[in-house]
């Protein structure tokens, strides 16, 4: 799997960064200014403008290796949006992208810590640990951070599942934001993130978020698309690298995701 590399810090991008989304709408406008509109979702384009400063030799080598492997703008690769939550449907755990173990029950529209009703209540009535998780098509070898708000009146902990690793998080009756971060010793092309409940426990969860970076940022709600883009290309056939000293490189890259390609 070809993918955009992370910096040695575990981050995918540096500030400043820009993201631009472009949609296409066919508009038929009458002389009285009434309109008939048709959407064209297949023509949507997303573009990122990323600047990298003070890159080390290894970081530059990784970026250059990808650019050569994809031959400029010819071949697509996977890009994990540094501005977004990688999970889809972050507040609708009843969507098919979420895999819940058979006996796990989900109740929606629970009040959440941000003042809305986007939280879910998970109940494990069984005698075994049960799991709610989502798989993403991303390299397992990168740095990831899973974060989730959780609370419970009946349980003191919930398990955070990040690929092959599972960590316990302490919770109470008030909302706590739990995180599990790090780099896995795996090399697969997909991995799963989620929460696991101890037997007989009931836990409210909200704002499950995965980011390809070492720490959690503010929660970002997602709908049908998370921040995993598997069809991204370099916008240009040129990669300009400026070196101002030993191990001090900088470059700017523009990436595009075009749905219809």
């Amino acid at each position: 799997m070809l993918y955009f590399p992370q910096l040695s810090s575990g981050a995918t991008g540096q500030f400043p960064m820009q993201r631009q989304r472009t949609a296409r709408t066919v508009v038929n406008r009458s002389i009285q200014d009434y309109t008939v509109k048709l959407a064209d979702p297949g023509a949507a384009v997303t573009q990122w403008n990323l600047s990298f400063n003070e890159m080390s030799d290894q970081e530059l080598a990784a970026l250059e290796a990808l650019f050569q492997a994809v031959e400029g703008r010819l071949t697509p690769f996977t890009f994990l949006d540094p501005c977004d939550n990688l999970l889809a449907w972050s507040e609708q755990q009843d969507q098919p992208v979420w895999q819940a173990d058979p006996l796990l029950t989900l109740t929606a529209n629970i009040s959440d810590p941000l003042g809305g009703t986007g939280a879910f209540q998970l109940t494990n009535p069984s005698g075994a640990t049960l799991l709610l998780q989502q798989s993403i098509a991303a390299p397992a070898s990168l740095n990831y951070c899973l974060s989730v708000y959780a609370r419970s009146n009946s349980s003191a902990r919930v398990w955070l599942v990040r690929g092959t690793e599972t960590n316990a998080g302490s919770i109470s009756t008030g909302w706590t934001r739990l995180t599990s971060a790090g780099q896995l010793e795996s090399s697969g092309d997909s991995l799963s993130f989620g929460v696991a409940l101890d037997p007989g426990s009931t836990v409210d969860v909200f704002g499950m978020q995965v980011e390809a970076q070492p720490a959690a940022s503010l929660y970002k709600k997602t709908a049908e698309n998370g921040g995993v883009y598997s069809n991204v290309r370099f916008r240009d056939d040129t990669l300009v690298i400026t070196t101002i000293g030993p191990g001090r490189h900088s470059s700017k890259v523009s990436l595009v995701n075009v749905e219809h390609l």
Partner: protein, 119 residues
């Protein structure tokens, strides 16, 4: 009906805020200098230019999600005019492009234009 997202302060816009009112009057001028005017459109249409600065990532993401769910200028939503609280039930984004920039943490910048549709 969807609603335009608010910032975490509850506000919709920041200063400098711009509001445009648009009529469409046709003018026919005759040879003797007199003229006849008539309406091309039945009523005024409003447009708001929303420039936002110093946003955090969650606020930027909420705007981004709103753009995606609206599919650019395709979708319609209700918009509350922050000047007088009037609710305009049929509005759309005026452009098919949404761009944001992050200078650093909590230093996001974005701008959108909301147009009232003829109902």
């Amino acid at each position: 009906m969807a609603s335009f997202p608010t910032l975490k302060t509850g506000a919709v816009m920041q200063y400098p805020a711009k509001r445009t009112l648009k009529f469409n009057t046709n003018v026919i001028r005759f040879l003797d200098g007199t003229e006849q005017r008539y309406r091309e459109e039945p009523s005024v249409l409003h447009q708001w230019t929303i420039q936002l600065d110093l946003l955090d990532e969650a606020e930027l993401a909420a705007l981004d999600q709103f753009f995606v769910s609206s599919q650019g200028q395709f979708g319609s939503f209700s918009f509350t005019d922050p000047w007088d609280g009037t609710v305009y039930p049929n509005c759309s984004l005026a452009a098919n492009t949404y761009e944001f920039g992050l200078q650093e943490e909590m230093r996001g910048k974005a701008s959108v234009i909301v147009s009232e549709n003829r109902s």
